[in-house]
């Protein structure tokens, strides 16, 4: 029996009350009329020296009443215990799950794990079926049931031991939930009449993921044993990239990193340094992180040269003390502008366009201006992103432009004059699109902006969505119905379309019915101009951008074309990425480089969760209602902590033992009343007439 509120059991101490009252014999019903109390003093009642309890039956009823009340308030409930024991002749099916996550590299853990695994192996009976799975982020079979079955009986254990011998902890994360589910599914795949057992050998760290276990319907004969392997020394500090700063350039502003220290740590003083190999450290800064806390700080400046990695010094567990940071290289981006304007002509669009893009840490934007007739051979470079057509183009180039857009790039067509009608008609390929100069009284403003469109989505916030400060002095009028498939992204306040998106293949043709040069509008001077162009650049990006921070066990999506085989080099052997694939799995931390025409370097680090090495709180396991084997350490531990869990409350609510106890209490009250009345009457009748009551 367990209790939801065991403190109420202390109320049972109230039993001492009736016992004492019965001992001091303070029976108030015997009232004696005396001549004068002037010689008597109210002394505190004293326990009778005879230690003789009066009215034992009444006392027992009262004690029982108090005990039952205390019991009811403590809200007891029964825990269903699975009975152990099975027929030894029927073999068990045992799955041994071995945690090979990075945290298993801690001192002393792996040896103990292997010892435990061998012990488990030694307990296997000849009639049992045995399988070994290893898990980190993924679960992989080391010895399958069919392999075990196919082996002759004498060599089974030997094969299993050999499989264990070659096992080493990996750098991956711990997905305990997936591993247990996989093991359970493995057992379910082969129906079996005998008992089934899953033995998990893990360090049971706080960072283990338990997703998927909640609400799983476990088979009745499945027993889970979680064997915790403890390290020789507790405490661990970890080093991770601070979220949100992972792409910052370490060379310029310094990398923001986070140092965590586990709750059971004994050390608090660490050092952060750039290291090259195991010995060379430079730019060292001290870090003070109390146990159970974390500190986010700017890493020291990265020294010049390759192969530097950020290291946390002073921690005994070193598996998560190295942070690989890929040096950032700005991505080259090319923008083509077709026009005849002079670069210094402040009345022309080109002048403003070239100043809109500056070189940033992430992008190196190059604006290339061509004559409309000189488009031949252009738009073939992989860095080409955006084409802006400032002048009518020749008919022979239309297909090239359309091809450029259809391949996923963006083309912007500002209709700075009626002469652009032909180009628009040619590019849209949907019949003539008449264009006329709109009559603007003083100025036109943008309205009905479609913030749902990806181009304008970045402005979809109250502080950015105000377009009313941009005055358009002139604009052209067209009928959007003449452009089938075109989506009006913004209109002028006179109702004419201002910005349209005509999808071409996987790209876009954006049509602006005005220009950004001062004659047409104030757009070039508005704060919306540059973000709008960058938004078009983003939409024109075909390959996607590679994140520079990855974790072991997580797939890395490689950028760029995938029609040729590529090679990823890193700390381990080179990995070949076949054509059509762009996924890569790193099995260890380090700097990896995607070889190709333009090599891309990315860093893969130990998962941040692995640094959380405190023991997993039993409540987390308990809430999952895992089918722990009776008598296992985890079960006992969990039962100690069960009071605080929701499961217990539900159990208690379902059983509602307290109701029966209250009923019993009521019965006892009635019994006590009747008994009290009976005892009251009994001595009164026998009382001597001289005693006044």
């Amino acid at each position: 029996m367990s209790f939801l509120a065991p403190l109420f059991l202390l109320g049972g101490l109230a039993i001492a009350g009736p016992v004492l009252f019965h001992l001091i014999r303070r029976n108030t019903r015997e009232k004696f009329t005396f001549s004068s109390l002037m010689f008597l003093r109210a002394d505190p009642p004293k326990v009778t020296r005879k230690s003789r309890l009066e009215d034992i039956l009444l006392l027992l009823v009262r004690c029982a009443l108090l005990a039952v009340m205390a019991l009811a308030f403590s809200r007891p409930f029964m825990r269903n215990t699975v009975t152990a024991g099975h027929d030894a002749t029927i073999g068990q099916r045992i799955v041994l799950l071995i945690d090979t996550s990075a945290s298993m590299q801690r001192a002393g853990i792996w040896e103990k794990t292997l010892t435990e695994a061998r012990t488990a192996l030694a307990d296997v009976q000849p009639s049992d079926s045995f399988s070994i799975l290893t898990f980190n982020g993924q679960t992989q079979p080391l010895l399958r049931f069919d392999q075990w079955r196919d082996l002759p009986e004498p060599s089974r254990l030997l094969a299993a031991r050999e499989a264990l011998n070659g096992l080493q902890p990996s750098w991956g994360s711990t997905h305990l939930g997936n591993a247990i589910l996989t093991a359970a599914e493995l057992l379910e795949e082969n129906p079996h009449t005998g008992p089934q057992q899953i033995i998990v050998l893990t360090d049971r760290q706080e960072g283990a993921q338990l997703d998927g276990l909640q609400g799983h319907d476990w088979p009745g004969d499945l027993q889970l044993t979680l064997k915790t392997v403890a390290p020789t020394a507790v405490g661990n500090a970890g080093l991770q990239l601070a979220p949100g700063h992972a792409t910052e350039d370490a060379d310029s502003t310094g990398q923001r990193v986070r140092v965590t220290n586990s709750g059971d740590a004994t050390r608090e003083q660490f050092q952060l340094a750039w290291s090259q190999g195991d010995t060379a450290h430079t730019n060292t800064v001290p870090v003070y992180v109390p146990a159970g806390q974390s500190r986010t700080l700017t890493a020291p400046r990265r020294p010049a040269g390759p192969n530097w990695q950020l290291a946390l010094l002073g921690d005994s567990e070193t598996f998560d003390n190295t942070l690989h940071i890929a040096p950032l290289t700005p991505e080259p981006v090319r923008i083509h502008y077709l026009g005849r304007e002079s670069a210094e002509d402040t009345e022309a669009m080109r002048f403003y366009l070239e100043r809109a893009f500056s070189t940033t840490r992430l992008q190196h934007v190059e604006v290339l201006t061509h004559l409309p007739s000189a488009l031949e051979g252009k738009l073939a470079h992989p860095d080409d992103r955006l084409l802006i057509i400032g002048e009518p183009i020749e008919a022979e180039h239309v297909d090239r432009v359309r091809q450029f857009a259809e391949s996923g790039h963006s083309v912007l067509l500002p209709l700075k004059s009626d002469a652009m009608a032909g180009t628009l008609t040619a590019l849209a390929k949907s019949g003539p699109v008449p264009l006329s100069e709109a009559s603007v009284e003083k100025y036109a403003l943008l309205s009905q902006v479609d913030f749902e469109h990806p181009l304008l989505a970045p402005f979809n916030e109250p502080r950015f969505s105000d377009f009313t400060k941009i005055n358009f002095w002139k604009h052209r009028t067209l009928d959007p119905a003449r452009l089938p498939g075109a989506r009006v992204l913004a209109r002028f306040d006179d109702g004419d379309p201002a910005l349209l998106d005509l999808p071409l293949g996987s790209g876009h043709l954006f049509v602006l019915t005005s220009g950004w040069h001062p004659v047409d509008s104030q757009l070039a001077l508005a704060s919306k101009f540059v973000p709008l162009l960058y938004s078009m650049l983003e939409l024109g990006q075909t390959g996607g951008r590679l994140k520079t921070a990855h974790f072991v066990g997580q797939p890395v999506t490689l950028p760029g074309e995938s029609d040729t085989a590529r090679t990823v080099t890193g700390p381990g052997p080179d990995a070949q990425i076949s054509a059509g694939q762009n996924g890569f799995h790193a099995d260890q931390p380090g700097l990896f480089t995607l070889q190709g025409s333009r090599p891309v370097t990315f860093a893969v680090n130990v998962p941040a969760r692995e640094s959380r090495t405190e023991p997993l709180a039993p409540e987390r396991l308990d809430g999952l209602n895992l089918p722990f084997a009776p008598g296992s350490v985890e079960k006992a531990e969990i039962e100690q902590n069960r009071e605080q869990t929701l499961i217990d409350e539900q159990l208690e609510k379902r059983q509602k033992i307290w109701r029966w106890l209250i009923v019993a209490a009521i019965m006892l009250v009635l019994l006590e009343t009747w008994l009290g009345g009976w005892l009251w009457r009994k001595p009164t009748a026998a009382k001597s007439p001289g005693e006044v009551t």
């Binding site: 108030t28 009232k31 003093r41 109210a42």
Partner: protein, 312 residues
């Protein structure tokens, strides 16, 4: 009556239980007095007799009739010979009717006993030809009958004594004050009470009574249980006067009670002794005639007699 006489013969005294079974107070008194009378006749003591009191030197203004000429013949000086008042003893019975007197551990209460005692005394004195008065009191005066000796007065007195005790508290001070005011002739004052009241007020008022020349006798009537505090079980004690309840475990409280009770009794006795009053403690289980005999013996031993005034 024959049964009582037999009892009396067996024990030497009249059995109190048998006596108290008699409903009529007058009859009870008569029985006691008869037995007592017999006792007196057998005893060497003569009780209230005519006695010479003292000589006093003659001063002008004294009645020359009382000059003792024989002394004059012997000593050549005029002396006045004083006698005790032998004819009319004026006795006032002061009977406590407070509620504390209703307590009784046996078949009768202290009030019953006190009434019988008063009735006996009254009867006895009446038989002697003395004037007997009654003043029954609780916190105030309830009944007052002046001291008289005439037919019917005794009957009236008995009726008055038969009234149940109904008073709330015992307050001796007020009745004593009142009796001093009412009775200006000196006489015998017999206070029958349990004296369950502070001793201080007893001292003040009793002092006034003795100061006015009254001969004061205090008969303290107590129940045996009040003296012994013979209780075993813990009880809720209810004060009959103050209506207060007090939970008492006798095993723990007995010592203190007995000590305080004895102190109170001693104090009352000391007060009486100091003021020249007779003090006699009576328990309700004592035979009445024995009480009276004891009292007389005690008076005799102290060499005191009831003051008799030649002409009060």
């Amino acid at each position: 009556m024959p049964e009582i006489a037999a009892n009396s013969a067996r024990n030497g005294f009249i059995d109190t239980r048998t006596l108290m079974q008699i409903r009529s107070l007058e009859l009870r008194a008569r029985i006691v007095v008869q037995g007592f009378w017999n006792g007196i006749h057998r005893s060497p003591y003569h009780g209230f007799s005519v006695e010479f009191s003292e000589y006093r030197q003659y001063v002008p203004g004294d009645d020359p009739r009382y000059v003792d000429w024989r002394v004059y013949a012997r000593s050549d000086r005029y002396y006045i010979k004083k006698f005790e008042d032998e004819t009319n003893l004026r006795c006032h019975l002061l009977v406590d009717q407070s509620r504390s007197m209703t307590f009784g551990s046996g078949d009768w209460t202290k009030a019953d006993y006190a009434h019988t005692l008063a009735a006996t005394l009254a009867y006895f004195l009446f038989q002697q030809g003395d004037a007997v008065g009654l003043l029954s009191f609780d916190e105030s005066i309830r009944d007052y009958l002046p001291a008289r000796n005439r037919p019917g007065h005794l009957r009236q007195l008995m009726l008055s004594l038969e009234k149940p005790a109904a008073g709330q508290t015992t307050s001796i001070a007020k009745p004593l004050q009142r009796i001093v005011e009412l009775v200006n002739k000196r006489g015998l004052m017999v206070l029958i009470s349990d004296l369950l009241a502070p001793v201080e007020e007893l001292e003040a008022k009793l002092g006034r009574l003795t100061a006015t020349g009254h001969d004061v006798v205090v008969l303290r009537v107590l129940d045996p249980r009040e003296i012994d505090f013979d209780f075993e079980d813990a009880l809720l004690f209810h004060d009959v006067e103050s209506e207060k309840d007090l939970f008492i475990d006798p095993s723990a409280a007995k010592r203190n009670y007995l000590q305080r009770f004895a102190e109170h009794g001693d104090a009352a006795r000391a007060v009486c002794s100091k003021l020249g009053a007779d003090y006699l403690q009576v328990t309700t289980d004592e035979p009445l005639d024995q009480v009276l005999a004891n009292y007389l013996r005690q008076r005799q031993r102290r060499g005191k007699t009831i003051q008799r005034h030649a002409n009060a």
